[in-house]
């Protein structure tokens, strides 16, 4: 009996380290949109649930772009920059994205975004 159990356990143990990393849609093409977490505008991409947020800092301005799991742009919704002292500054909407300027860009601890649909997002401020 023990010999049989040892035999049965062997193939499971062989693939266990691989199974630990299996995620939905087994083995997509790395160049397919779902596997695309690369920055499209030279910023940093974070994924929060199913939403990608690309954060681009240029001088004293921070741009936040939202996109869905396959990187289709999402409407920006509303957002605010939250500072260390608890105060906040609203973000502006410019076309397809949100923008932080001045204090909101330089001293924000994080950004809170309420997309047009879906749960609120908390995005760390870029260094």
């Amino acid at each position: 009996m023990e010999r049989l159990l040892a035999l049965l356990a062997t193939p499971v143990l062989a693939v266990l380290p691989l199974l630990a990393f299996v995620h939905s849609q087994t083995h997509v093409d790395p160049h397919a949109p779902h596997g695309d977490h690369r920055p499209h505008r030279g910023g940093d991409v974070v994924m929060l649930g199913d939403v990608h947020v690309e954060v681009v800092r240029t001088d004293a301005v921070v741009h936040l772009y939202l996109s869905d799991p396959v990187r289709r742009p999402l409407p920006p919704g509303e957002g605010r920059a939250v500072h260390a002292d608890g105060s906040s500054t609203p973000l502006a909407t410019e076309g397809d994205h949100l923008v932080a300027r001045g204090r909101a860009a330089r001293f924000a601890e994080h950004y809170e975004i309420v997309p047009a649909s879906g749960a609120p997002l908390v995005v760390p401020a870029p260094p």
Partner: protein, 143 residues
Amino acid sequence: MLVVSRERDLWGTPVAVFAASNLLIGAWMLVSPAHWYWNLPANVPGSGPLNEHFVRDVGCIFFLLGAALAVAVVRPHWRVPAMSAASAFYVAHALVHVLDTARGLFPPGHWRYDVLGVYLATLVLVLTTILLARSRSRTHAGS
């Protein structure tokens, strides 16, 4: 030095196979994180963007677990501690999946992948470790 006879060493092969798979994955993550990220047949990008530093961090765990298990193949008294450490890691990993599923980090339906690949596979590892420990206890009691 081998302290169990080949005849009674039922667990040498499973431990060796588990050691090899952990060492392989760990070495791959340490040597080429980006290659591992894009080419492991598990859709790693489905979990988020590549962070090479974190891939190497996690690779250290797999490689060291694999190394301990490899030693345990030739030193059977290492087997229960090494398999227990591996079980603890994989159980903790499974709990992280439960947490992230509960808080909606994974897409809907993702739990179906986890039932077989994470939860059941981890259960097999834990049961194997328990059986191995019992086997070692019997071996010691009988010696």
